[in-house]
């Protein structure tokens, strides 16, 4: 009996074995970050990782990984798929660098397997299927808006094949994203919107926002460190920006309930990780690092304070520059400062090196270092007081994200202690003091694009690319896709940095073909430190056939965002992090070393007016033009076929008879 039981047990284990060998893992994360301008960005990320090889075709049983996408990947030989549907525009300049940016409208880029023979056909089929899955008009992707970028898009997952003929990229800037796109997206989640973080995804709140972007990324990744076998990763991300300032009656405080009109009650039971992160990193960090405007400490009050502490007299001179950082805040208890000074001294003595000398030179030489320490502690204390999060976070997490040090308050929905006190989690954030809004940090790289010129004949597309890094230059790849009906003139392309011409080190231009393919312009431009680069190119507007205009043609035509890809040097040295373990904010993009991080930016889409024909005129135009041709034909036919003759008298005999009859009636002599 025992033997039989053992055999059964063994069989059970054997049956369970393969099941465990390829487990699916779901992690859900929500990142809430207050943006500098007073808005709140909420980024959801649902990561499904599946340790199975989809391409082999051996997969028949789907658990967490959505079957629709899995079958698609297997059938069409997709190596990587990135789809983003976005409503609104991420304002990089005021909101900072997004975790994952997407252009307005729909964006789709796909790497196919090298085994795919007819990439264009697979691409067409794929966009049609995706159009069905996501209820989006992706079926409008055809050869007129598809390009093959050579440098801007690299595979993000495994496999470093860079044969760009396997890549297809398309943007539909006109696409309007709404509820019907969100619902199928939510259905791909293992828990749907029934449990976990996804309960917050209520359409009526999500689309009542300044920015909404939902994305699906599928890519192959290494199963483990040795990277001998492949796992597939599906990331579903959703970013939404709420204007909490406007909706909160002028207050920038927010809570989960106010934003989503829901609170969190539990984690998704299928998820192995379910966390909420709140960005509580100090907002004035840029001032600490911005070396163009070194903080000018007010020497006098510090000296006075020191006098109290150490009883050494000090002749302080009034500060030469305004005390920007000290205003409105009191002093720390100096005893606390003295206690922490040793620690902070070693870490941060570089910071003010040489900068504060002007004020303290020769006056308090002995205390320069101490002054700095006190000043730093002062700053830190200021930061801590800025905001207050309730309920108190379980733990804090520090990370370097996009070259900046960030602190996050973490709520783990899977830990039982969280729901002990209250049944639901409603994260709230209060600003204890009003933020200093005049000092908005500007991101190192941002861009701005506009169309200029007047009239409907010609125009100019200008792109301004800002590098605000104080001392480092870096290259940036600019990808510009312009529809064929704007005829670009490449010889008018000018790139000007600081008043001088900036020659791109790589340029790839593929001219458009009417009704077949768009213009593609890719350039590698070196951005000098602390500079603005202006890229302009002129175009001519074409007149289209009347059937080619969309409804409401005078609204204009959208030109998709241009894409900027760059390795931006970070200000803070990044330490190597374990990609797999670290959450959301180590995004899709791999970083090669710690000194720089990858950024992909999208500029504004453009709206360009084209000359329009009169849509009510087709019959009239056909008639009138044909008449003109007929006039020519008629008169030439006349001259060619007839010959000159002398007028014969017989002509008009009938008329003469008639005239004579009338004349007879009138009593006038006949002709």
């Amino acid at each position: 009996m025992a033997a039989v039981a053992a055999v059964v047990l063994l069989l059970l284990l054997a049956a369970a074995g393969p099941g465990r060998a390829r487990p699916d893992v779901l992690r859900e994360e929500l990142l809430l970050s207050p943006l500098p301008a007073g808005d709140v960005a909420a980024t959801f990320q649902f990561r499904t990782r599946w340790d199975a090889d989809l391409q082999r075709g051996a997969v028949s049983h789907y658990r967490l990984f959505p079957k629709a996408l899995g079958r698609l990947v297997a059938a069409l030989g997709v190596r990587e798929l990135h789809l983003a549907l976005t409503q609104g525009f991420w304002r990089t300049r005021t909101w900072g660098q997004p975790p994952l940016q997407a252009p307005a409208g729909a964006e789709l880029w796909v790497w196919f397997q090298p085994t795919v023979t007819d990439v264009d056909k697979a691409w067409k089929e794929l966009s049609n299927i995706l159009s069905g899955i996501f209820c989006a008009s992706l079926n409008f992707i055809d050869s007129t808006n598809t390009v093959i970028p050579t440098a801007s898009f690299k595979p993000l997952g495994l496999g470093n094949g860079t044969d760009h003929h396997l890549l297809r990229y398309a943007v539909l800037p006109r696409e309007v994203v709404c509820t019907e796109n969100l619902t199928p997206w939510k259905k791909l989640l293992p828990c749907g919107s029934k449990a976990g973080l996804a309960v917050l995804l209520r359409a009526e709140r999500l689309f009542h926002s300044s920015y909404h972007s939902q994305a699906v990324h599928i890519r192959p990744i290494c199963r483990d460190a040795s990277c001998l076998s492949v796992s597939w990763e599906l990331r579903q991300t959703l970013t939404v920006v709420f204007d909490s300032f406007a909706s909160g009656q002028g207050k920038k405080d927010w809570s989960l309930f106010r934003m989503f009109s829901r609170t969190l009650t539990d984690a998704c039971p299928l998820a192995s990780q379910s966390k909420v992160y709140v960005d509580i990193s100090p907002k004035n960090k840029v001032m600490l690092t911005d070396q163009r405007r070194p903080p000018a400490p007010s020497v006098q009050p510090l000296c006075v304070a020191l006098k109290h502490l150490t009883s050494i007299s000090c002749m302080a001179r009034p500060p030469t520059s305004p005390p920007g950082l000290m205003k409105g805040s009191g002093f720390l208890p100096l005893s606390k400062a003295a206690g922490m000074s040793v620690v902070v001294l070693t870490a941060l003595s570089w910071l003010l090196g040489g900068k504060g000398q002007g004020q303290s030179e020769g006056l308090c030489p002995a205390f320069t270092v101490t002054l700095r320490v006190i000043f730093i502690i002062h700053l830190l204390s200021q930061e801590k007081e800025l905001l207050e999060v309730t309920p108190p976070p379980v733990s804090l997490y520090e990370a370097v994200v996009q070259g900046e040090k960030r602190t996050y308050a973490v709520y783990d929905l899977l830990s039982p202690s969280l729901f002990n006190t209250s049944r639901s989690l409603n994260v709230q954030l209060k600003w204890t003091r009003p933020q200093d809004t005049s000092e908005l940090p500007t991101p190192v790289l941002h861009a701005h694009r506009y169309v200029s010129g007047y009239g409907l004949q010609t125009g100019e597309i200008s792109t301004l690319v800002y590098n605000t890094h104080p001392y480092r230059a870096f290259p940036v790849i600019l990808l510009e896709t312009v529809p064929w009906y704007l005829r670009l003139y490449v010889h008018t392309l000018t790139i000007i940095t600081k008043g001088k011409e900036n020659k791109p080190s790589y340029i790839h231009y593929q001219p458009a073909q009417d009704r077949r393919r768009p213009h593609l312009l890719e350039m590698l431009i070196q951005l000098p430190a602390n500079s603005i680069t202006k890229i302009t190119i002129q175009f001519e507007r074409a007149l289209l056939k009347w059937t080619e205009y969309p409804p409401d043609p005078n609204h204009g035509f959208y030109v998709g965002s241009s894409v900027l890809s760059a390795l931006v040097p970070s200000i803070i040295a990044m330490k190597e992090v374990d990609m797999e373990q670290s959450p959301l904010f180590t995004s899709l993009f791999p970083s090669s070393d710690g000194s720089s991080y990858f950024v992909r930016l999208y500029t504004e889409p453009l709206l360009v007016n084209l000359p329009t024909p009169d849509f009510s005129m087709p019959y009239n135009v056909i008639c009138l033009t044909c008449t003109v041709v007929a006039v020519c034909y008629g008169s030439f036919y006349n001259l060619l076929t007839r010959t000159f003759h002398v007028e014969e008298p017989s002509r008009g005999r009938l008329a003469k008879h008639l005239a004579n009859i009338i004349r007879k009636l009138r009593g006038v002599p006949p002709l």
């Binding site: 004949q457 074409a542 056939k545 033009t625 003109v628 020519c632 002398v646 007028e647």
Partner: protein, 398 residues
Amino acid sequence: VVEGLALLDLGVSPYSGAVFHEVRLPSGSCSIPLLCPQSLCLCLAFLQITDVLTAVALYLAIQDFNKVVFKKQKLLIELDKYAPDVAELIQTPMEMHYIPLKVALFYLLNPYTVMSCVAKSTCAINNTVIAFFILATIKGSAFLSAVFLALATYQSLYPLTLFAPALLYLLQRQFIPVKLKSKSFWLYTLQYAALYLCNLVVIICLSFFLLNSWDFIPSVYGFILSVPDLTPNIGLFWYFFAEMFEHFSLFFVCVFQINVFFYTIPLAIKLKEHPVFFMFVQIAIISIFKSYPTVGDVALYMAFLPLWSHLCRFLRNIFIPSCMLIVCSILFPVLWYLWIYAGSANSNFYYAITLAFNIGQIQLISDYFYAFLRREYYLSHGLRLTRQDGTEAMLVLK
């Protein structure tokens, strides 16, 4: 003003030689695009030189043609082919002396020429080639004529129709009668056609070897024939095909393109004795009905008008077409501005002007044609026409 402008500008771009579909001039075959980016002035100077060359070529051609006309007249008078009372119709050397100069000046000082030169249209180059073709034909050099005709055809396809008048002229010069049964006629025709085709093939192969691909054939000739670019110009095609129903489009493209080539054979039959007038009518028809006409084309055929100044007394309604042309030329920029820049008019306004302009041109040409035929009739039948009963008669077309 609407032009086939920016052709040269496109040629400037380093990539255009490869696949740019708008390069109606395959840049491999000419060094002009390489010359032009240097400066605007250089480009303008170059176009001015081409214009002056055109004018010189026209001057020489017409000078020669006048001599031929004079000889022919003399011959016919001696042969008593003319009616007795047509002395006032015969051109005198005094009248003909200034005609070449007038033609050249008419070309150079024509506002259309100036406009197309300022707009940097490649039309000037096309005109130069055609002018040289005319010169070579009138001088009687079959080889050079074939070369320039091949060049012109290679540039814009439509000058293909000028083959017929050139052949007629050369036949006339060789005193070969145009008879379908005569052997020498066919021999000479084949000879000239072979010359022309060889030249064309050589030029096309040359540009193939320069570009190393056949891409330019669809991108140049396909572009001319299928009219994909609907940018407004002075022609009839753009708005017609912008407003055309999709499924009729192909049919009308065929009809409109055939229309350009259609007049050649009937004209050749009717005007086989007068190949230069035939050439003039054919150039005018091309410039009216080609798919992307520019004002430069109009300037070329208008330069010939002084040559036919002796037809003036037979023109029926020269006043109306000339008023139409002048008014339309003034209204073109006005309505263009109103539509494109001010936004207070729409495309129909500009379209109406193109219609009127083209009707004006058609009237002008058919009027000259009429006058020419009438003068020929008077020359052979005498100026005083009488009926059977002795009263003065009217002349009618029947």
